[in-house]
Every structure is written in structure tokens, then in C-alpha cells.
Symmetry: C2
């Protein structure tokens, strides 16, 4: 008998309420019933993203939305600036080169966040840059970029700003309109806490102007096709969507608003703090040394010398039922990552740290059992985490 | 956002696997499909109870099975011995007096277990006793009676032995045939970890002989009616049963056998030990002072002086989402009870103790936060609780 706990930066735990919606019999995607829900979810996503821009629902992973952002807006040979501070920065580069763009890469050490003035400098030096791509939360390291500052910079240039907010939005503040973000990508399986399989993307007027001129071929991810069907009365999707996931998202978004944006952010802040402080008490080192750069969605922890990182996460998963993530790309084997975004509460964090303690202890790491969990309890108690 | 954890001695947590079965579309109770499942569950219950006696499924709470045991076997004015060590001993007394039996009550302090030789003495002094009723696990206090010894005594007398094993069976050893237990009652919502609503009852040949002579009126709970329908081909129930619960039990029983009886017992032993040791570290006193009398299904903890017990369990439930049970009958307000039977794992116990710590701390109880959870972790680690 072993219960499963998913503590990765996506997929994340899903509430019973959302799972029940997800389990409802499927309605047809051309039915008025589905159109009604589709319109509701689109409206809720706009509110979630704090935007009046168009927002489209794509049946794909977040990577699909990243590809849609690139292939819809640019033309072959366009110069783009990719802010690259981890595996998902790399992904923007790969997508861009795949579709024939001319990529300038602004590289940071993995574990560091981007410096907004570097972006200004690159734009000044390359006035022909058509777009800037950046992660809000870089899922592979756990850093959070200062998207507000970047937005304020890019809006003064002809370039559009494309933000991969997949693991950030809903956990950390992002104001699409106020911060001037042209394209923002999100996914169903992150802070919204619905099943995997749906992405969403917001598109500004400035982005639309580029979409009209784009010459890269796209079919499934055509935002023009999405808009044509979304503008129908009743609204639809051009292709068959992930119906059950959209229905689940409808409930999950309701739960986000019921809890309240500020409370959700605060919950994520305390979850992240508890994980980080507990790990430090266990004499583990954070990948992101600068506390100001740390996000609240996922924490990357360095595998200490003498510990087999792969065995550590395997023990947590196989023996204790707690799934955490390993390192990606060049950080494979060097870090492990504890996700704490979405439908994650105080006791999920407690369980994750307890499982980590057991797995560390089994490899002979020196510490008093209970050191990490005690710290988790203290952080939660001090931050008056739960309210009646 | 608050997750719910149910740590009571029934209902207990239910696995996703069982909930999925429970959620299947209902089949008709006179269909061959249902008869097949009904026969399977009956067979699995016999294996679960370690008996070749008849086993019947009743659509009722456990109390229904207790009433069935009494009304089917005895006749008005029959002398019965009720072993009374708590609220459920009291219940056997109430049922017996309601149906006109002449009750001899063998009373113990609540928190003490029965002394088998007392039963022998009562039987010797009252050779006209027709039946002995006893709890295996007295849910209101957490004690475990030595049913093996009691069985060996009673089988030498004309009296039948009726055992309420509702919160005991599946968590603690009980061998219906080997120990000579005439009637044993169980429920779906305890160690089997299915939803509430189904009881089951085993009936020995010695009990059947009394059933044939019984003059107490019974209709819904008639074991003769149950037998008549169970003997049909295909087997059925006389009245409409709780179909979805029986379907769920089918899966839950499979999971019991997959995990393996010995492993299930060991899990319960360690769960109970962790709760008890953690509470003692928090300077709380157990109701059952004699460790040998303590069962593994539920732990009763005395509300210490200066602590409002009702507020304590309320805080745990309302603020932290962890439901534990209060005291029953004359122990109301004096104890609270943490259930740890059924689909309960290491991390459920950890969460319950963490929530208890928070609630104690809020009332100013003096201890270092993390003391209880650290002890839980130590007990689990020392007992090598999880295996790959």
C-alpha cells in the first residue's frame, strides 16, 4: 500500500472537484453546450491573465503554444532575441532555428535570472530585432524573471515580447496588459491545476500586426484559424479540442478565483519558502543562490557530494510514492526539483520533505530525522498559513 | 484552499482505485452481472474472515449486523452476557434489551480490555446463558479484546459467541473458524476501506441451530431470507442492496489480498505505534494505559487539563482539514480519537500529527513544534515501514 504524491512542476496535484468535472460524459465540440463552456473558459482565462487581448485555447502542451507564438508572428530570417537561462530558453531557441529565424541568444548561467538592462542593450544594438522571447518562470532552474521590467523596455521598440509564463502564471503575478506583454503562453497543468493537454495564448494588437505579415507555414497552430472559429457565434475551435480538459479548467479557474489571486500567491510564497528553508536546514544547497531570483513554482536543489541524485529521486518515488523532478538538460544528475505550484497545500510540502529526509537518510546523509519537517511546520505556523 | 484528510475510525480514506469502481454505472441487482460480483464478494469476505461459515452481505451500517446477530439467534427472555467496555458494548446491551433479552452485563472501565476468565466465570455461574457478545476492537476507547481466548472458552458452553469485529477485522488478526467464533460482524467502511453502507456477518452451524428456534420478529435483517436468496442460482439479496458499495468492496478486497494480510497488519501496527509514540512525545496521555490492551485501529488520547478538546478537534478540522473523532458516550469531551485503520499510510499519520501539533500550539500547549512529527518519522524509519 503506497499513496502517490506528485510534487513536480507539472503535472501538479488536481483537486477532487476538478477531477469530478473532468470525469463527466463528453459533450460534442460543435454543440451549443460546449460553445458555452468554451466561451466561459476563454473569458476566465482573460481574467486569469489580466488582459483584454485575444486569448486562444490550443489543444497541446505548453510547447505547442510556444511554437504557435513563434510560427504565427515571425517570417523566415527574422532576427529574434532569445533570453536563455535554462532548458526552456533553449527550447525557444530550438523552435526559432527550426523555423528559420535568426537567433541572438542572451545566455545566463542556469540558476541566474535575466538582467532586464541586457535586453535593452541588445535591442539598442540590434534595432532590427523583431521579437524578444523569455520565460517568466524558468522551470528547469526555478528562477523568476522580472517580466514587468522587461515589458516596460520592449514596448518602446518595434519588437514584440513573447513570454512563456507556463509554470509562472497563477503562482506569481503577471499583468499582461499593464506590463505590455504581447504574447503570453500558459498551460492547463500548472498553477491552474487541471489535467495536462491544453495550452492558452494571449495575443496583443502589436502581435496581430506581425501575424498578418508572417510567412512561416502553420496549420494546426494557426492563430488566424483559431480566431476565425472563436469569432463564430457560438464560438468554437477549428479542430477537435480536449473537451474534458477544458471542462475541468472551467472548474479549476473558478476555484482559483474563489480562493482569490492574492491568497493563491501567498500560498505559493509560503510553500516555496518552507521547501527552501527546510532543505537548507538539511544542509542542502539551492541552485538559485540569489534569493531574490527564486520563483515560487519549483525549487532546484543541488545534489550534494556523496549522494546519488538519481537514486535519491527514485527512492522517493518508488519507496515513498513521492514524485519529484530531476534536472533537465545540462543539470541532469546535478540537481533535483521539488514542484510546489498549483493545488499544493501545507501537508503536501510536509510529505515531500519527509520523503526527502527518508531518501537522504538511506544514503547516509548526516542530519537529525525530522529537521526538515520541523522547519516546514515552523514556517507554516509563523506565516499563519491557514485561516478558518 | 484546504485539502481534507479523514483520520477517524470509520469512514476511513478510500483509494482512487476503489472510488473509480464505486463510480461505475449501476448494474441491476437482479442481473447476472451483479450476481457474479455478489458471489465474488461473498467468497472474498469468507477468505477475509478466514471462515467456511455462511457469510451474508447486509445493506446497513455495522449496527444493522449487530441487530441481525441478536434478533436472528435469540428468543424473548433469553439470558445473554454482554461484555461492556465502551460505547459499542453499551450498544449490544441496548439492542438486547430492546428485543426483550435478559442481559447480564460484564462491565469494565472504559479504556480497559475484557479479562477472558471473567467470561468463563459468568458462564459457569449462569449455565443458561444463550450467547456472549463482545467487541474485538472497542471503537470508543481503542482497546482490543483477546477474542482468541474468549472463543476457546465459549465453545465449551451451549452459548454462542457474537463478535462485533467491525473496527477490528482486517486491521488485527481474527480467525473465525480456528477461534470458534459463531457470529462475526464487519462493515465496509473500516479496514476494507470502501464507502459506508454495507455490513457483513458470518454464521456458524451452532448459530444456525439457534436461528431455527429464534422467536424474535425480524424482516429486513432476516438471515433466513438472506440465506434463501444467497442459495439461489445465481445468488442474490432478498432486498435491493447497495450495489455500488458492493462493487467497490470487490476492488477493496482485492487490494487487501494484493497487499497481503501480514503486511496490512504490520502497517496498522506501525501506524498505531507512530501515533501513540508521537502523542506521548507531545506529553499527551493515552486513555488505554496498558499497552498490551491497545488496538491498532484507533487511538484514544486524553484531553489534557487546560486544553479545550472540542476546540482542538474543531481547529484540526476547520483550519487544517484533518478530521479526527471526539469521545463517545461518557468520554465525550474527555478524549479525542485518531483513526489509523484502512487505507492509511505513513504520510497520513504524519499529517494528522502535524495538524494536532498546530491545534495544540494554538491553545498554548507547551512543546517544540515538530516533536510529534519527528517521532512519527523515526518510528517509520526504524520499523522499515516502506519496502520497494
Amino acid at each position: 500500500m503506497k499513496k502517490s504524491y506528485i510534487m513536480t512542476p507539472g503535472p501538479v496535484p488536481i483537486s477532487n472537484e476538478v477531477l469530478i468535472e473532468h470525469g463527466r460524459p463528453l459533450m460534442h465540440h460543435r454543440s451549443p453546450e460546449f460553445s458555452k463552456i468554451f466561451a466561459e473558459v476563454t473569458d476566465k482565462l482573460k481574467k486569469f491573465m489580466q488582459t483584454t487581448n485575444d486569448v486562444f485555447i490550443l489543444t497541446s502542451s505548453g510547447t505547442g503554444a510556444m511554437e504557435a507564438a513563434v510560427t504565427n508572428t515571425f517570417s523566415k530570417g527574422d532576427k529574434v532575441l532569445v533570453v536563455n537561462a535554462g532548458n526552456f530558453g533553449e527550447r525557444f531557441k530550438k523552435i526559432s532555428t527550426t523555423f528559420g529565424l535568426n537567433v541572438i541568444s542572451l545566455d545566463y548561467e542556469w540558476g541566474q535570472s535575466a538582467i532586464p538592462s541586457d535586453i535593452k542593450k541588445a535591442l539598442d544594438e540590434n534595432p532590427d530585432i523583431k521579437g524578444v522571447m523569455i520565460q517568466q518562470s524558468e522551470t528547469s532552474t526555478g528562477i523568476l524573471n522580472n517580466i514587468e521590467s522587461v515589458g516596460k523596455i520592449v514596448k518602446n521598440y518595434p519588437a514584440i515580447l513573447i513570454v512563456d509564463a507556463i509554470s509562472g502564471i497563477g503562482a506569481s503575478e503577471i499583468k499582461v496588459d499593464e506590463w505590455g506583454l504581447d504574447i503570453v503562453c500558459g498551460g492547463s497543468q500548472k498553477a491552474i491545476s487541471a489535467p495536462t493537454g491544453i495550452a492558452f495564448i494571449s495575443v496583443s494588437r502589436k502581435a496581430w500586426e506581425m501575424i498578418e505579415k508572417s510567412d512561416i507555414p502553420k496549420f494546426y497552430f494557426s492563430l488566424n484559424a483559431a480566431k476565425k472559429y472563436a469569432d463564430k457565434n457560438p464560438p468554437q475551435t477549428p479542430w477537435t479540442p480536449g473537451i474534458s480538459i477544458i471542462v475541468a479548467m472551467n472548474k479549476a479557474l473558478d476555484m482559483f478565483f474563489e480562493e482569490g489571486r492574492e491568497k493563491v500567491y501567498e500560498r505559493h510564497r509560503v510553500n516555496a519558502l518552507a521547501v527552501q528553508k527546510a532543505c537548507e536546514k538539511l544542509c542542502l544547497e539551492m541552485l538559485v543562490s540569489d534569493t531574490a531570483s527564486r520563483g515560487v513554482s519549483v525549487t532546484s536543489i543541488k545534489v550534494p557530494e556523496g549522494i546519488d541524485g538519481k537514486l535519491l529521486t527514485k527512492t522517493m518515488r518508488i519507496k515513498y510514492g513521492v514524485t519529484v523532478a530531476g534536472g533537465q538538460g545540462k543539470l541532469q544528475g546535478l540537481i533535483f526539483r521539488i514542484g510546489h505550484l498549483g493545488y499544493v497545500g501545507i501537508f503536501d510540502v510536509l510529505v515531500a520533505i519527509a520523503a526527502l529526509e527518508f531518501a537522504l537518510k538511506e544514503q547516509g546523509w548526516k542530519f537529525e530525522l525530522g529537521t526538515g519537517t520541523t522547519e516546514v511546520q515552523k514556517i507554516f505556523f509563523e506565516n499563519n498559513y491557514m485561516s478558518e
